[in-house]
Subunit: 667 residues, 2 copies
Amino acid sequence: MAGLPKKEEADTKEIDMSSISSSKRHNQNPDYKVGVPSKQNLFKEFTYTVKETFFADDPLRHFKDQTKSRKLILGVQTVFPILQWGRGYNLNKFQGDLISGLTIASLCIPQDIGYSKLANLDPQYGLYSSLVPPLIYACMGSSRDIAIGPVAVVSLLLGTLIQNEIDPTENPVEYRRLTFTATFFAGITQMTLGFFRLGFLIDFLSHAAIVGFMGGAAITIALQQLKGFLGINKFTKKSDIISVLCSVFGSMHHGWNWQTLLIGAVFLAFLLFAKFIGKKNKKLFWVPAIAPLVSVILSTFFVFVTHADKKGVAIVNHIDKGLNPSSAHQLYLTGDNLLRGFKIGAVAGMIALTEATAIGRTFAAMKDYQLDGNKEMVALGAMNVVGSMTSCYVATGSFSRSAVNYMAGCQTAVSNIVMSFIVFLTLLFMTPLFKYTPNAILASIIISAVINLIDYEAAILIWKIDKFDFVACIGAFFGVIFGSVEIGLLIAVVISFAKILLQVTRPRTALLGNLPGTMIYRNIQQYPEAKNVPGILIVRVDSAIYFSNSNYIKERILRWLVDEEEKRIKLYRPRIQFLIVEMSPVTDIDTSGIHALEELHKSLQKRNVQVHWFLQDLKTLALANPGPVVIEKLHASQFSTTIGEENMYLTVAHAVHSCLPRVVEEA
Amino acid sequence: MAGLPKKEEADTKEIDMSSISSSKRHNQNPDYKVGVPSKQNLFKEFTYTVKETFFADDPLRHFKDQTKSRKLILGVQTVFPILQWGRGYNLNKFQGDLISGLTIASLCIPQDIGYSKLANLDPQYGLYSSLVPPLIYACMGSSRDIAIGPVAVVSLLLGTLIQNEIDPTENPVEYRRLTFTATFFAGITQMTLGFFRLGFLIDFLSHAAIVGFMGGAAITIALQQLKGFLGINKFTKKSDIISVLCSVFGSMHHGWNWQTLLIGAVFLAFLLFAKFIGKKNKKLFWVPAIAPLVSVILSTFFVFVTHADKKGVAIVNHIDKGLNPSSAHQLYLTGDNLLRGFKIGAVAGMIALTEATAIGRTFAAMKDYQLDGNKEMVALGAMNVVGSMTSCYVATGSFSRSAVNYMAGCQTAVSNIVMSFIVFLTLLFMTPLFKYTPNAILASIIISAVINLIDYEAAILIWKIDKFDFVACIGAFFGVIFGSVEIGLLIAVVISFAKILLQVTRPRTALLGNLPGTMIYRNIQQYPEAKNVPGILIVRVDSAIYFSNSNYIKERILRWLVDEEEKRIKLYRPRIQFLIVEMSPVTDIDTSGIHALEELHKSLQKRNVQVHWFLQDLKTLALANPGPVVIEKLHASQFSTTIGEENMYLTVAHAVHSCLPRVVEEA
């Protein structure tokens, strides 16, 4: 440790390097006792729990030791990060943002038009939603890579849920009003979760469940596109696979339009080929990115020239020109529709959050910057609240566009501003150009976009890693395609919770054995080299001991005892006279857990008295390495005095070392 | 190890005693690798999980390796344990059972009459419920100490819930029918839980919640007794404390009857004094046990002699003579009342189970015999199903009577048969004797009985041990006394679940340090002696890594890294170049968890490249002691190759030993 100032030596808690190397020659020092942390006062403990639960990321770190005016500036910068990174913005960065902005704009315009159909809205509403929300997000969000706008799954979810309440063709005005209301409450939900730092709630939707849910939603969306793709007029409003296939095959003989099918099929092939190229060569990422716009232009020109619309090819026909009209007065703020809007908005808002958070985290990890999940939620919420007042529906981060954004070299959220500007120009000047765009091409674009959401590789990996996760994944998947989006979600959440509860109710226990020649004790199933210690049973409990599992743990340990004793007696080995419970993984214990330990202790003593009443010391319970919380509670409950302080050991090795000489050999 | 046959030496996995003692002189052998358990096939794994979840107690153990006819006999004995223990029954045991049976009979008769009032039923129904169910239980149950019959809390719960549906004074017949229906479904619920081995579900009601719930119920019951105790005629039907106190004080000026109050108060004082004596001297346990019957006899005689009933002292007046009439035809098996009966029965059945299971376990632990919880549930369920057809309402194990039973020296369930026989005689011959028994005495008996349920010592202990548990306890308590029994239950369950989820969402992490002179690494908060290792950060994760906490864990570790780095740089210590994650307590990991580890790994690598791009080896992630499930999943997901097999160590000491020489000192 040469080169370090001497005077610091005493202050630091760091160990000397030489001492560690030399410790190889030492023995385990048996002088250490199990540490009992100094009693924390209640308020401190409470503060700590609250902090770790809600402020785990220490969001106020930067505000420490600052002047008041500085704090104010920092506060404003926290709400509007653009004020922070904007000061360091330069032309170099803008170059990256411009290119990526243009790329995602070319991708988003045809997608927006298509997705608004999923939400049963006119095409301009999709464009509106790519104009305002990205601007708001650019000012308030911290992710540098996310591309904001309408996305397929949320559009479908919103469309299905709202259509259950109001028919979009019969009452388009009410339908739109409910959509804006739902968007408003989606934003409010997101802001509330973020503001009260409840962002961790969305973690309860597991990765596996999301994979299954997204895959199912992608297939549902793709199937819905068959309407546009095949030019079917009469189509079911349900989203499950059976209703859709019935619709498709029922209309086979009279409802399909071959011209539509031809256009759709040709361009779908083109789009998929472009995707394939992009996948093969990462540098050609722009090929699949601009392919949709190219298809739209080509097919529109083709329809315009051939007058295919006269032959039954459905076209977009009309997109309102002009910018977002205000919709603030259209929100339902009273009555039943308020409640409905709230319910739908809360669900859609949560799903939108899940998607945006996953994207944000992924890219933040790739570029290694920190995202404050809760702050992000406030930003996303604010953008949807503003959106709901400017004729937008729920916007969030899009998987496909964010990936393109990243690959095109975006530097900051300015790429979203560029995209928004292009959409602005489109709305002002170019909407008439989409008149002859065939619906089939939109269907093809959506199909080729959602195919990416079917992540079968992830599903295979999940199968390999964790079967229970796979059940959640496949449950969500089938729930969505055979039931509906909501049923799939419900299944996913229920299975995920059941998994947690199962683990908490039936934790693992393991027998430990000694690795010969060491003082290490390991699971004998994992380490076949590990050997039993004569007369001593060592059990490790792999979980906190709570009311939900305390009885199980107690009984499981007694069962280990009986089983092992039988085995050992058959082999003429000494009876088990000491039970050592390795407590390292027992991170917490509650009153039920302490009761269970007490009962275990009593049970051992009784057995002792009944079976070997001539020997007082048989079947002693020893605890190895109880953690700080556990030891504190054992003390509080007097259990440590019940079994005796001397029966708490620093490590299993210490416990064995102390018990082994006392093992009595029997005839 | 002298005296052991030589040939066994190789077969057993036991280690040689001398090898362990000599291991003290050895060093940790660095040759051991982290064990990877042989891949289990899916079916085996599934079977294992199912077995541990539903058959944790291995109930079929005795059936192994038996002939068919023997299996049949064992099967019958399993359902009717009386056939097993009955064969070894003798006069000696009967002596104990006779005395204890007589004692609990003298206690149960007045209690039964009182409790049936809590359930808004005529007094004979309480006696009926002490006749049939104990007989059935004696044949099917395995607890030797439990005393079966109506209990205060279940009677109150049943009374409150059924009275919400049908008015007991206006429609006594329908009310009774619904009671029997509820009893029937309580039995069915109990049998179903037991048969499908779902008994662990009742473990979700934590000890703390039960303490609070019972305390609240006791106070509610005691307050309800003020009606009989003060001789009030108009009394609220609600059970919350506010309504009851309003009733009591509203009727103060005209409704109280001083003769009633006098009788009640005198005998309550007597009962409490008897209780006090019993507590002081455990040998005089029979004093509080027979005190209620003595009070009944004395007070009845007193009323009969003084004609106090003419002066407004309410008396029992009439108890139907004769044995249980059949009620099988009275069950509602169709319509709305079926559903109501089912709902009420399911709740009452669960609560009854909780009480009986707690009692069964307590006494089984005291006498060290094993109880199969699920089999017990089948027995309790069967007894209630039969009970519902013989005019009984829900019976279960009574805390107070079981304790008396135990102290009076009961040996087997025969004491229940004795008690049942006494009740049988009472119903046949003695009911007219209760004509002049004042209601006030019943109120006094109930009050003195339920006082035991207020376990304030347990509540204080819970406060000391675990604050969160205390919140569940006090929540249940206030829920019951200010709301209702159901609200209290609901609060208890919700808080208990919230606790589990909180622990799973925000697990603890700890920094480890070296105990100087050893190779042991321990939490530096718990062991102030523990020292940091230069250039290395050792973090322990205290929980399985699941979707619900994976992000938190990742971010928490990164925060430890930043915090510690700051600290160490201030002290001119080497930067942190290695991160060792101690995985011992990580009992399981899922796909989200592996993702989090991958992101952590990426994050470290990025930091490395950004901050110290001249040094390739900084910020390496090492894992110490991953468990069998974890290592299997790390392999399945290829993560072990991502971070490198060589970065998985057997212990923290091994990891430090390997990393320390590579720590680079900086200027």
